[in-house]
Assembly symmetry: C2
Homo-oligomer: 428 residues x 2
């Protein structure tokens, strides 16, 4: 294979520019490694005139990404526009229809339309590669699909949104409330144009949906994920968790259970000395568990020009080397429809309860928990505030159903100053 | 590709049996993922009659691994015998000469003969895959060769021998001297038949030599590695390091410098809160740094039946899927001969010095360091022992050359009760 591999790149934001930079700077290295030159034939972006700090004059320009995707002088369509619908999806479909391979960083598109796109690609004999869609520079798609191919995967976990992890870490370090740190992160440009994608857990859940499909041989099932964002994580909870040896992380967990595929993305407590607990700032971490390998932990930058472009280049180099294979680790036609299971596996929970200053208040709470069959592992009541007494409880393992019943019963006791906070404690 | 991929497996120790077990248990999963059946045609081991707890009656038996490697009914020769010379190498060469692909876990063979074997394989149009040769179940070969293919690699580091890490961790946890823990580990079967391969740093250095070749495009250069084992790491040093916020790890480091390839495998101090510092027991950790991606950390089991077999299966599944590529990330003919550079990059050092109880002893040591241009970052003298006073010093960054000069000068002062201990402190 001595013909150059010719790319068409749609989207020249941070990642697109990063890809162009690497292809220019490392052309010789990439050719030595893949055995062929990798060249850019044409590019497309919203504004042609914007100065992006990189020389684009060697490449043909297309205003329309669909036209770019169909060009005869490209072998691979590199989709770096983003968005689950619209131009990204139109152009991806056009590329596949024209027999081009696709490399994309678009987690939303794959989470929402991954099955249909995979079916189209495989029917056309084309590839879709998307290492950059999950966990930035960490080669987790490759590790899961290829590196652990001999394993039955038992669980996938991870911190997959660096912005959320930055916010939670910064809240703890600076002792600041959520709203202040959110505003700070937004000002620093750490959040998506629609910040709810980050802090609402949507972006991380898109990533989890993709990993689940590969891990468990199921069709991507974003709708089946229980999602809870970090908007309601308070500095009080972060401090209380720290006092008891935990960190709060926006943690994604996917596992196959007897009742179906359990997928959740929610704030959880993890031991502060565990690898996940130690993860500070914008770094991502993915934990992969397989029946043969045990546990593999991958840690690295989850975003940014260099790391994300590195992942895109990994896909491009694989294609240049002649890699081929199905989109989600096995043929799309063989992926089963996921039966989504709510998380009923027993877990320990952290509860923060504000009690009114009434005699017997604590006893009432303890009674409610006991009646729901929930036993208390640790409890502490801290000093009274003006209007209430904060009580922290770590339960022994219980079902979410029993906990929800107990929380409902608590609200009827008349001793609560506010709604209790309940966060899962994840076994690592 | 609907023909089965047919294996011949030579070596039925822990790893070989693990591979057979996975192929039997996960046959359907592997076929779904690779698109073809993976079968075993024949096996070979030293003793045919040994009960290995796995049914081998479906497979032809060969007493001679070379005969196995040449069989017409195998596509891939799976070499799990070990040893850098002898049957493993003979059979690998025979397999390549017969046009078979090779999957091996043999780090010693690749470290000593990797270049010649790669040249033979590539001339024959065959593959050599060896994910299991480095860091057990961690897919580090794949990550480095494929996942980071768009990066100029700047540094590779890691804890690559679980037995050494177990010994060092156990010494600290139990407060036991090296000899006691060594005997314990040997009794538990944690060490190679020749324990010097583990504790002498040889096994880990074999792995580092392989990673260096892929990372820097150089021919495997085991002889160019500065190797120091853990035999002289004392419990005193582990305790003193811990007091100052460090852990002692047998750390491999490879980086390309202006003077050539620097490769070392030696006990180093790392910050106790860093991912490497937190690594306890037999777990491995590899740190990969690239110009685009920044830093990626991989953590997982470095040995054992399941993890190592998982890595072997990764290679087998890749071949079943049609993977092809050069052995060390680029064609063997394009790998450059490594110019090995002694580590002259400045580093901070930890010194433990036993001083005789003489007036002015400490001043003499401080003067020697000052005259060598080495400035002291931290110094503490702990309580006198019967015959000497232990002094701990952390230097500012200095060259190994200046340090060696200072150590030589110290021995002439007449105030030393014993040879000083000097360990590098690694920047992470």
């Amino acid at each position: 294979m001595s013909q150059p591999l010719r790319l068409g790149i749609a989207g020249l934001g941070t990642v697109g520019v990063g890809v162009v930079r690497i292809l220019r700077k490392q052309a010789a290295l990439i050719e030595a490694r893949t055995g062929r030159a990798v060249t850019i034939s044409a590019v497309s972006a919203r504004s042609r005139d914007k100065d992006r700090g990189v020389n684009l004059s060697d490449y043909a320009w297309e205003d329309d990404p669909v036209a770019l995707a169909k060009r005869d002088d490209i072998d691979v369509f590199v989709e770096l526009m983003g968005g689950d619908e619209g131009p990204a999806k139109d152009a991806t479909e056009a590329a596949l229809a024209s027999g081009k391979d696709v490399v994309t960083a678009n987690k939303a598109m794959l989470a929402m339309h991954g099955q249909a796109l995979a079916e189209q690609a495989e029917a056309a004999g084309c590839l879709i590669r998307y290492e950059a869609a999950v966990a930035g520079g960490i080669p987790v798609i490759k590790t899961l699909t290829e590196g652990l191919a001999g394993n039955e995967i038992t669980r996938v976990m991870g911190v997959m949104n660096g912005s959320c992890n930055y916010i939670l870490t910064r809240m703890e370090d600076a002792g600041l409330p959520y709203a202040d740190v959110f505003a700070e992160a937004d000002g620093l440009g750490y959040l998506e144009a629609d910040p709810a994608l980050d802090v609402g857990g949507i972006d991380a859940a898109h990533k989890l949906a993709i990993l689940s499909s590969i891990a468990f041989g199921t069709q991507v099932d974003f709708a089946g994920i229980e999602i809870e964002g970090i908007e309601r994580v308070s500095i009080e909870d972060i401090k209380a968790a720290a006092d008891m040896g935990y960190k709060i992380k926006l943690l994604g967990v996917a596992q196959m259970t007897g009742r179906g595929l359990e997928q959740r993305m929610q704030p959880c407590l993890v031991p502060d000395r565990s690898p996940l607990g130690q993860l500070a700032g914008g770094t991502n971490m993915i934990v992969l568990e397989g029946d043969a390998v045990g546990q593999i932990v991958l840690r690295g930058p989850g975003a940014g020009e260099g790391p994300t472009a590195s992942a895109v280049l990994s896909d491009i180099c694989d294609i240049a080397r002649g890699w081929h294979g199905p989109v989600f680790g096995q043929k799309a036609s063989t992926l089963t429809a996921a039966t989504s299971a709510m998380s009923q596996a027993p877990a320990a929970f952290y509860l923060r309860i504000g009690l009114l200053d009434k005699p017997g208040a604590l006893a009432k709470i303890a009674t409610v928990l006991g009646e729901a069959g929930i036993s208390i592992n640790r409890m502490r009541q801290t000093e009274h505030r003006s209007d209430h007494a904060p009580v922290l409880i770590v339960t022994h393992k219980t079902s979410r159903k029993a906990l929800d019943e107990a929380l409902a019963a608590m609200s009827g006791t008349g001793v609560l100053a506010s709604d209790p906070v309940a966060l899962r404690i994840e076994d690592l």
